[in-house]
């Protein structure tokens, strides 16, 4: 594995499966006998969050703590960022404090890459969401969740059908998931109103549909995305009601799914907009499993980045 995890493109299919397998072993250990492992004792993980987050930050914090790392939480609110401190100065401060890994979430696409390439810090950088670009650990935990529900696709997703529904345009979760799921062999269909489909989608190796009803019947996994109102300066659809009618997962659509199908959502959910309360709480929904799997997958990522020698490239043997 590389020193950083910035994009799903940093991983090969084998590398991604290795993270998932590590997470599976961690699940057996930490669901059972050992809650806390000494593996990263003495290492410092900084959560550098310039955007709001509930589950990602808590998930990384919990993952680092279960591996005995020290965790420093930094959120832009209440820090010197609100006094105008630049990313560079913030990063150099963290460097001076001896961070071994920086988990960064930032509103600007490419912020994680900038931090990794800048030479400002020597720590491993983990992208926890940069603008509308990528969120690789979310895609990994989604793949882990899919794999745990469909054991027949353990080492290969070929034959698995996934629909990603909703605000594709603004979704870093969708980008990372498309990259990872297609890398693992799944057939991915994007479903959204035309205004919320990105321009470059023809290069993505996916199908595109504007009709949720016809796609929903076919798929094994239905991944609903949050409508990201905070990134929508313009109006992309006439009204919330109309969006919900065309692209929301209501009870009728839920009942039209295959018996074995699962419903995913990266959270936070807009109940009543992209997903109805009945659907969110139905037995097909794996939203809470996604959250608990997130901790395991992030433990696996931290272990792979920090668990060995400084990083694989530095080791001669």
């Amino acid at each position: 594995m590389n020193k950083h995890l910035l994009s799903i493109n940093d991983l090969t299919a084998e590398g991604a499966l290795e993270i998932l397998n590590t997470a599976s072993e961690l699940a057996k250990i930490s669901d059972g006998p050992m809650k806390k492992l000494p593996t990263l004792r003495g290492r410092t993980v900084v959560n550098l969050f310039f955007e709001d987050s509930t589950r990602t930050r808590i998930s990384f914090e919990s993952a680092a703590k279960r591996l005995s790392a020290d965790v420093i939480n930094f959120s832009a609110k209440g820090s010197s960022v609100s006094k105008g401190e630049s990313l560079k100065d913030t990063a150099q401060t963290l460097q001076a404090m001896g961070a071994d890994a920086v988990v960064i979430r930032h509103g600007a696409s490419g912020a994680a890459q900038r931090l990794a390439d800048s030479g400002w810090i020597s720590a491993s950088v983990i992208n926890a969401g940069d603008g509308t670009h990528e969120h690789p650990t979310q895609a990994l935990l989604d793949a882990y969740t899919i794999r745990s529900k469909f054991p027949e696709f353990r080492d290969n997703f070929s034959g698995l059908r996934v629909a990603i529904v909703g605000d594709i345009l603004h979704s870093r979760v969708a980008r990372s998931n498309v990259l990872l799921l297609t890398k693992l062999g799944a057939k991915v269909t994007l479903v959204a109103p035309p205004t919320l489909i990105p321009v470059g989608v023809t290069d993505w190796n996916v199908d595109v549909s504007y009709d949720l009803d016809s796609v929903a019947r076919e798929v094994d996994v239905l991944m609903m995305l949050r409508v990201q109102s905070e990134r929508m300066a313009d109006s992309y659809f006439p009204s919330e009601r109309e969006y919900s009618r065309g692209y929301g997962l209501d009870l009728d659509r839920l009942n039209s799914l295959k018996d074995s199908a699962i419903v995913m959502h990266p959270g936070p959910m807009n109940r009543g907009l992209e997903i109805s309360a009945e659907s969110a709480d139905s037995h097909k929904s794996v939203v809470l499993a996604q959250v608990s799997n997130g901790v395991l997958v992030r433990m696996a990522v931290l272990y792979q980045l920090l668990g060995g020698a400084a990083f694989a490239g530095e080791v001669s043997a």
Binding site: K28, I29, K35, L67, A317
Partner: protein, 175 residues
């Protein structure tokens, strides 16, 4: 390269260890075997099979110590191996750790740490197929298949039919 144990000798050594475990613990009521993956896990299974033939079945599991190693930062990350604790648990049990080669003792130190996270066994004992010396920690084995004096530059290779297709122990001269 010299073969120091062949298939027959490995079988006899493990059978003797099985007898010694019974003798030492005055029976098997409280005994749990935990093999350390990869090869220790197979040896644990084999000893359990002998114990079953001689006396009675015992719970047998595996204990991966990767996350407890003290040399993690000296090498690239290693893949994790399965940990499987028998449902009877280890609390108050006589736990016999099983590994293929006892060398520096660091693996066993890590295993003791890992055990401590799981529970509090009554006793912890150690069975190894080969003790090659060169300990770096105050650790010894209770049951030894064979003591093989080695130079630190040599390495001891244990081959087991489960994964290597044959049973033998070889000494390989160092580079």
């Amino acid at each position: 390269m010299a073969t120091v144990l062949d298939a027959g000798e490995i079988g006899r050594a493990l059978k003797r260890i099985a007898h010694e475990i019974i003798e030492h613990n005055h029976g098997l009521e409280n005994v749990v075997l935990l093999g350390i993956p990869t090869r220790g896990a197979f040896l644990g299974e084999r000893i359990a099979q002998f114990l079953n033939e001689i006396a009675s079945p015992v719970p047998v599991g595996t204990l991966d110590i990767t996350l407890h190693r003290d040399d993690l930062r000296l090498r690239p990350p290693r893949p994790l191996l399965p940990t499987l604790i028998p449902s009877s648990g280890i609390e108050g049990k006589d736990v016999v750790l099983v590994d293929d080669v006892l060398y520096s003792g660091r693996t066993i130190r890590a295993a003791l740490d890992a055990l401590g996270e799981i529970g509090r066994p009554k006793t912890v004992q150690l069975a190894v197929l080969v003790d090659r010396g060169h300990r770096q920690l105050p650790i010894r084995a209770d049951y030894v298949g064979k003591n093989i004096p080695t130079a630190a530059s040599e390495s001891v290779k244990v081959h087991l039919s489960e994964i290597d297709g044959k049973d033998c122990v070889e000494i390989v001269a160092g580079a």
